[in-house]
Every structure is written in structure tokens, then in C-alpha cells.
């Protein structure tokens, strides 16, 4: 079956800088595809090439098997990382303006309700809060009832509450079997929303798969962390991996039961002990050797 969207060996060079260096992937219909990576990894450049906004240096993007054209622009909903609307336009006017561009549209009342815009329909868009603004931009991206929806770092800069609200909106959209392309540098967001992820660094995809499969493939261990002063300098037998930092000791364990038994036998206090699974954050560190936000 033809994938909904396919990127083939996309390359973008800015003079000496290779922002994106040979990226390929395909996105089946109904999937939420996440593009992850730190700032500057090439996520936005990749997405903007797919969207037909940036011409690639080489490579191509196919939508339903054909190059990006008018049909794609009618079918795609796009929420850029930073979208400006013209000055002195009100929320309801912006919705109607964008609605007029498309042949097939969703009823505005439905979008207004879904994105909770009702309370500030007559407000100038310059005077919206961060969360309100993102909801309006999402509503605009949905105005043509898109087959494929692009969200480029949609929750960057939002407070935790607004971020959770936004995630709920995305969940609702996913229920309609829409295809989504999401870029983010929040691993938590990717884990929450994406069915499949590609991790980018320095213009390349360095890992790809479902979040669970990726974690399973790279990690067969969990992390036990304890206050450093509870743990003596030498443990017997010595664990395979132990890190000390910021007053904490982190022990990587392939067998939690055995490790805890061992700690108890050696008289280590388990007060304030935390056990957690490995996260995408850890995976990124493992794959690239540097921190995700760095």
C-alpha cells in the first residue's frame, strides 16, 4: 500500500552547513509520526521541506505517491513553530479568512468548541495568551479538515497545564484516524502522543521505531537511584554500572529483585529509593552522547 507521505533522501544545505543530510521515512495513514531531536537537529527544516515550504537541495517528498502539489495544499493542515497572523485581526476573522482559502472545510462552530475559542472570539489575536494562541493556530490548521496535520513544536513555551490541554486536543484528533507529523524536543510529549518516532541529530535520523520498541531494543535495564550518603563507596559484588552525581547514586540494573536484595544484605538504607524505567531521554543520551536540551 502506498504510504500517505514519503520523504526520499531529503538534503538541505545552507552554504557550508548541512542542516539535513539524507533523511528518508514513510508515514502510513492514521499514524502519529514524531520527529525528535534537540534544537538545531534539523527537525523543522525536514518538516518544512515535506510541507513544500522549503525547497530541498536534493531529494523529494511524495504525497499519495505524487510530488507535493495543489492537492497536498488542500489536504494538509499546518501549524508552524512560530506563525504570525496579520495585525489587527480578531480570532473569528482569522478563522473565516483561512476557511475561505479551502474548498472542503469543517464547520467553524465545531472547531471553536473543540479548541475552546468561544470566550475570546472577538479578541485581537495579538492579545491572546500562549495557550489561547496555540489553540487558535491549531483550529486554523484544522479548518480544511486535513488528511495530514503537521504540528511543529506545538507546546514549546507553554506552561504544564496548557501543554496537557493541548495533548488532549491531539488525542481527540488522533481518534479520528488523522495522520499527524509532530516535531518536538520533549521526549515525554513524543512518548505520550506518537505511534512512531524518528530521532534526529546533526541532520540525520539516528533511530526509528515505536517508542516501546526503541526502548526495548536499546535498554534491558532499569535505574535505581538512592541518596549518595546511603551507599558505601564499594559494593560487593560491584554493580555493572553505577554513577554518582548531584548527591545521588544511580545503579543500572538488569534484575531489580536481585539488586535490591543485594543492597539490603549490605545494610544500605532504601529510604528515598526510586526505581524507574529507562526513558526516551536516556535513549537519546545513549545514542548521541549529549543531552537532549543541550
Amino acid at each position: 500500500m502506498t504510504p500517505l507521505l514519503e520523504a526520499r533522501r531529503l538534503v538541505k544545505h545552507y552554504r557550508e552547513v548541512k542542516a539535513v543530510d539524507g533523511v528518508s521515512f514513510s508515514i502510513p495513514k492514521g499514524v502519529c509520526f514524531g520527529l525528535l531531536g534537540p534544537n538545531g537537529a534539523g527537525k523543522t527544516t525536514t518538516v518544512e521541506m515535506i510541507e513544500g515550504i522549503l525547497p530541498p537541495t536534493s531529494g523529494e517528498t511524495l504525497y499519495l505517491g505524487s510530488p507535493i502539489d495543489e492537492r497536498f495544499r488542500n489536504d494538509a493542515g499546518i501549524m508552524f513553530q512560530s506563525t504570525a497572523l496579520q495585525d489587527y485581526i480578531r480570532v473569528n476573522e482569522a478563522l473565516r479568512l483561512f476557511q475561505s482559502f479551502y474548498r472542503r472545510t469543517r464547520p467553524l462552530e465545531e472547531l471553536i468548541e473543540r479548541c475552546a475559542l468561544g470566550e475570546f472570539l472577538d479578541r485581537d489575536v495579538q492579545r491572546l495568551s500562549g495557550g489561547q494562541r496555540q489553540r487558535l493556530l491549531l483550529a486554523i490548521a484544522l479548518v480544511n479538515d486535513p488528511q495530514i496535520l503537521f504540528l511543529d513544536e506545538p507546546t514549546t513555551g507553554l506552561d504544564p497545564q496548557s501543554r496537557r490541554n493541548f495533548w488532549q486536543l491531539v488525542h481527540d484528533i488522533k481518534k479520528e484516524r488523522k495522520t499527524l507529523v509532530l516535531t518536538t524536543h520533549y521526549m515525554e510529549e513524543a512518548y505520550e502522543l506518537c505511534d512512531e518516532i524518528a530521532i534526529m541529530d546533526h541532520g540525520h535520523i539516528i533511530a526509528q521505531g515505536t517508542p516501546r520498541a526503541l526502548l526495548k531494543k536499546h535498554f534491558d535495564n532499569a535505574v535505581i537511584s538512592l541518596p549518595a550518603d546511603h551507599v558505601p563507596d564499594s559494593l560487593d559484588p560491584h554493580p555493572d554500572s553505577i554513577h554518582r552525581s548531584n548527591g545521588q547514586v544511580e545503579i543500572l540494573s538488569e534484575d531489580i529483585n536481585r539488586s535490591i536484595r543485594q543492597l539490603v544484605e549490605q545494610g544500605v538504607s532504601l529510604a528515598q529509593m526510586q526505581v524507574r524505567s529507562r526513558t526516551l531521554e536516556d535513549l537519546f543520551l545513549e545514542l548521541t552522547g549529549h543531552d537532549l536540551r543541550g
Binding site: 510541507e51 495544499r73 508552524f80 504570525a84 485581526i89 476573522e93 479568512l97 482559502f101
Partner: protein, 331 residues
């Protein structure tokens, strides 16, 4: 071309213009203030000197040309000088070759000069003309209207579209089925419509406050202003086509508009300036707007009289618009 898209973009742009109170008031208040300012500055006619145009051999003047406190100005074009007598720009005109002189029946200075001439040994035949005085403000109004159109068109299209490009408005529009042609024609139509409204307001407002001459047809004047506005908007489109930086756009727009304002005869006549300057001025749309509007308002010129100016403005519009639209990039 989708008429629906065109009209929603047009309306959105109109609203943006009308809601930007600061810019709007500048568009209306500034030209009115300029005109009122000049009207007051020139009400007390402080030309305490008599101006006499002289044509022909100056040696046979019977000593009249030695009279003090009279400025004698050599004249080559008799009909043009006669017009100046009609408008009180010359107090008297003497043609020494044909032994005649012209005087404006309604001019006090002309009366005094005529008495002086009669007292001298120079005997010339009397010719009278009539005509009301052309105040500086009458002469200035068409130029100020043209200048306002120029600034509003260049900045309203050039600067605004560059700002749209810089802050990502254009990028968002590019991601929709809206075509560049639909977008640009809506911008042009919106600006044309808004400038026409503002110009009518400014005209009415200044006329109410200082009252000026309008000897021609309003339809003809409107035609000049529409053709002029279109040519200026098209010039703005060239600036808007590629620039990404507002400051660069601002600089470039100032670089175009200020010399144009000074060299198009808005504030002072270019009659006495070097030929090079006069030729160069013909390349500027504002020269044609000002000259044609002045001809309509002061001389009552008809469409045919100013046809050449209209033609030049339309030609400029076609050229500028082609360049601007062809080189336009969303990003």
C-alpha cells in the same frame, strides 16, 4: 483566481488598515496639517517687491528699467508670462519689441506700476487680462495630495508586505491554496480603495479649512489620482517582492520617496532648475501626478490635455507591476 479568497484577503487588509489608528491618522492628519500650515505661512503676502516680466530689447526702455524696488525678470515665452499676470505671479508684463504691456485689472500692484509707467518716457500699448490670484496653497494642494498618495502606497504595500514576510504571515499563507496572484491583487485593491477614501477625506478637509481653487472636473481629477495611486502601489510591489528585512525596506523606501518628493515639483516649481533635473523628474510618477492634478485644478484641464501624463502613469503601472509580480517570493 478565486473571487472568495480575493475578497476575504481584501477585507482583512482593509480592516487592518482602518484599525491601525496611528497610521491612519498620519495618513489623514499630516497632509491636512501641511496644507493649513502653508496656508497660514503665506497669508501675509510679504513680497514687498514689484515683479515685472520684460520681453525684448532692454536698451530702449526710457529709463523705466532703472526704477528701484522693482524686480525685472527677463521673459522669453509671452503666453506663459501672460498666464502669470492672470495669476498675479507677475504684476506686469512688458513686451518692448511689440511696444505693449499687460496688466491684471484686479491687481493693486499692477495699478501702481501702471501709474509709474505712465510717468516714464516709455510709451506702450495697454493690454488687460483678468484672473484671480493663485495663492501658494492653491498651487501646493495637488502636490500634497500626490505626495500623500506616494507615501501611503509605497509604505502601505512595500513595507507591510516585507513585514508580513519577516514575521511569517506570508509563510503561513504559502502553506494554503491561496495563490500569489490572489494575495497580491487583494493587497493592491485594498490599498487603492483605502487611499482613494483617504484622499477624498483630505481634499474635503483641507478645502473646508483653507478653501482652494478647483477649476476642472472632479472626475478628471479622480482619474489622475487613481492612475497615480496605481503606479505608486505597483512601485511598492517591487520593493515588496523579495526583501526580508523591514529596516532594509524602510531605508529603500525612504531612498525612493524623499528624492521623489523633492524632485517632482511638489513644493517648488522646477521651471528654473537645470535641464538634467527636469528630464530626470519626468521619470518619476509623482511628477506626472502633481503636474496633471495641478493642470486640472488650476487651469481646468480636461482628460485630453493631461492625456500624456495619464498614459505615462499607466505605462509605469504596467512595467512596475510586471516586475513586482514576477519577482515576488513568499519567503
Amino acid at each position: 483566481m478565486g473571487l472568495g479568497r480575493f475578497s476575504t484577503v481584501l477585507q482583512a487588509r482593509n480592516r487592518e488598515f482602518l484599525r491601525d489608528r496611528m497610521a491612519l491618522s498620519w495618513n489623514i492628519v499630516l497632509p491636512v496639517l501641511i496644507v493649513i500650515g502653508f496656508a497660514f505661512a503665506f497669508t501675509s503676502d510679504n513680497k514687498d517687491i514689484f515683479k515685472v516680466g520684460v520681453h525684448g530689447q532692454e536698451d530702449r526702455n526710457g529709463g523705466f528699467l532703472d526704477t528701484e524696488h522693482i524686480q525685472f525678470i527677463p521673459v522669453s515665452d509671452i503666453p506663459a508670462a501672460v498666464t502669470k499676470v492672470e495669476r498675479h505671479q507677475l504684476d506686469m508684463l512688458m513686451d518692448l519689441a511689440e511696444e505693449r504691456y499687460w496688466i491684471n485689472g484686479g491687481s493693486a500692484k499692477g495699478y501702481v506700476l501702471e501709474k509709474l509707467l505712465a510717468a516714464s518716457e516709455l510709451k506702450l500699448a495697454r493690454q488687460t487680462v483678468s484672473g484671480e490670484e493663485i495663492r501658494y496653497v492653491d498651487w501646493l494642494i495637488p502636490g500634497v495630495l500626490g505626495m500623500n498618495i506616494m507615501f501611503s502606497s509605497l509604505f502601505g504595500v512595500g513595507y507591510v508586505i516585507v513585514r508580513y514576510r519577516k514575521n511569517g504571515v506570508l509563510k503561513r499563507l504559502k502553506a494554503t491554496p491561496l495563490s500569489a496572484f490572489e494575495f497580491l491583487s487583494a493587497q493592491v485593491a485594498s490599498r487603492l480603495w483605502m487611499i482613494t477614501l483617504v484622499t477624498i477625506l483630505v481634499y474635503a478637509g483641507t478645502n473646508l479649512m483653507v478653501g482652494f481653487r478647483m477649476n476642472g472636473s472632479y472626475v478628471t481629477l479622480l482619474l489622475v489620482l487613481l492612475a497615480g495611486t496605481l503606479s505608486m502601489i505597483s512601485l511598492g510591489l517591487i520593493i515588496a517582492a523579495r526583501l526580508v528585512n523591514e529596516e532594509a525596506a524602510n531605508g529603500l523606501l525612504n531612498l525612493i520617496s524623499w528624492p521623489m518628493m523633492l524632485l517632482s515639483g511638489v513644493w517648488f516649481s522646477l521651471e528654473g532648475s537645470p535641464e538634467v533635473v527636469q528630464h530626470f523628474a519626468l521619470l518619476l510618477p509623482l511628477t506626472h501626478i502633481t503636474t496633471a492634478a495641478r493642470a486640472v485644478m488650476i487651469d481646468g484641464a480636461g482628460v485630453l490635455d493631461i492625456g500624456l501624463h495619464l498614459l505615462v502613469l499607466m505605462l509605469m503601472t504596467v512595467i512596475f507591476m510586471t516586475i513586482g509580480a514576477r519577482s515576488f517570493r513568499w519567503e
